[in-house]
């Protein structure tokens, strides 16, 4: 297994997270999610691991952290009782459970050290006793088991084995990256801005065909806001965002190099 030395310090994403919380001397119940997420991402960036299984576990947690980070920026969700929900609650619960389990494992280790001080004795049965083999009562052992049922059991096992193979994913070949040309999309959005002047952001997105296209379009719009080519306004939270072309702005090409 290709687990790098560095990784052995941590027993998984939760372990790493607990370490970060501990190192930052912050409260597990009030995690400064922005800092912790940054440190977490920094750590997994440094992980030089080829093992996708190990890496994916850490990436799942990274995605969870980013998700929480996003939710923290949005207005708090309210549950049925009208209480505000902390987006960190689920993570805190998981961390607490893991922390307790770690605590128990230390407790067990101590006990093991103590228990190792008791020595036992191997059996010293007299030969007649040692050689005595209790006859197996096959009537009792087999009971009402029949060949037919044994066959059923075997069939179920074989079926379970087939079930384990994911018929969808097992047929996947290489996953090809769906390339979206950033320049082309920029030209497209610029043309759209010129011809529409004032338009709904939602309408623009609806014209995109894939998630990737939506993302790239969004990035182009963000960059155009930054350079002052367009302005945006929104009447209400969750209302449609209205984009207005800014005629006075410089008409030079949008620079997207900063988007990486």
């Amino acid at each position: 297994m290709a687990i790098p030395v560095k990784l052995e310090v941590f027993e998984g994403p939760l372990d790493l997270l607990l370490h970060l919380i501990d190192k930052n001397k912050v409260d597990i119940y009030d995690i400064p999610i922005v800092e912790i997420t940054e440190q977490y991402l920094e750590y997994i960036r440094q992980m030089e691991t080829e093992d996708m299984n190990v890496m994916s576990e850490f990436l799942v947690m990274a995605a969870t952290l980013i998700d929480i980070k996003c939710k923290m920026l949005l207005p708090k969700e309210v549950n049925e009782e009208g209480e505000e929900q902390d987006p960190r609650a689920e993570l805190v619960e998981k961390l607490l459970e893991y922390k307790m389990c770690k605590y128990m494992s230390y407790e067990l280790r101590d006990r093991m050290v103590d228990a190792e001080r008791n020595l036992y004795k191997r059996p010293t049965l007299p030969p007649e006793v040692a050689q005595y083999r209790q006859p197996v009562d096959y009537e009792e052992l087999i009971g009402d088991m029949t060949l037919q049922r044994l066959h059923e059991i075997f069939k179920q096992m074989m079926k379970r084995q087939e079930d384990k193979i994911d018929p969808v994913r097992s047929t996947f070949g290489r996953i090809e990256k769906d390339e979206i040309d950033l320049d082309l999309k920029t030209t497209y959005v610029e043309a759209y801005v010129r011809s529409h002047k004032t338009f709904s952001f939602r309408k623009l997105l609806e014209k995109q065909h894939s998630r990737m296209e939506v993302i790239v379009t969004f990035l182009v719009v963000l960059e155009m806001i930054k350079t002052g080519r367009i302005g945006i306004s929104q009447d209400d939270i969750f209302a449609d965002i209205i984009i207005t072309a800014n005629e006075t702005a410089d008409n030079g090409p949008v620079q997207l190099t900063s988007l990486g």
């Binding site: 027993e11 409260d27 103590d114 008791n118």
Partner: protein, 189 residues
């Protein structure tokens, strides 16, 4: 059976067998009921406490085994071979403690707590005979359920899984209250 005789028989059996012996089987040999047998064993254990005795009894759920007193360990290792120890890494210990506290438990549930896959750890623990399959869960795919073994009790000096070291209720309550007052969330632990 006469009490002294019964104790002698119990001592002889436990000495000879070396392994753990179920109290039921001991009771059958001395022809007493289980409770009387248990009581006799307790009296014997009390006798073994005396200063000049070097052996004692360990209880493992419903079985009992003879062992040496732990405080004599340093003298014993001068002459006796220490039993082969298994090295339990942090991963193995964490996995084992989850299984111990939440048994019977499936692999998926263990993975949920640790956030990492546990196949390797579970297989090692099975090899060490610290855990065992205890059945299948009545759920889609009928996943295997795992629990701890008698070897686990012996290795960790636990008399019964009901007696596992606990986070005191007070401590857990403290944790919870801190949490709830600080971020106003309901913890369901």
């Amino acid at each position: 059976m006469e009490k002294d005789k019964a104790k002698a028989v119990l001592e002889a059996i436990l000495f000879t067998m070396g392994d753990s012996v179920e109290i039921d089987r001991l009771a059958a040999v001395i022809e007493e009921d289980k409770n009387t047998t248990r009581q006799l064993l307790e009296e014997m254990a009390a006798d073994y406490q005396k200063e000049d005795r070097g052996i004692g009894l360990t209880t493992l759920e419903d079985a009992v085994q003879m062992c040496t007193k732990s405080e004599l360990y340093e003298y014993l290792i001068k002459i006796a071979k220490t039993p082969k120890k298994f090295v339990l890494t942090d991963t193995l210990l964490e996995t084992l403690s989850i299984i111990a506290y939440k048994q019977p438990i499936t692999r998926l549930e263990i993975e949920k707590v640790r956030g990492v896959s546990c196949d390797h750890a579970v297989n090692r623990l099975l090899e060490f005979d610290l855990i065992t399959e205890v059945g299948r869960m009545d759920a889609p795919g009928r996943p295997l359920l795992f629990g701890t073994t008698e070897q686990f009790l012996r290795s960790f000096g636990v008399k019964s899984i009901d007696e596992l070291p606990e986070l005191s209720a007070v401590q857990i309550e403290e944790f919870k209250q801190q949490a709830e007052s600080e971020v106003q969330m309901q913890l369901d632990i």
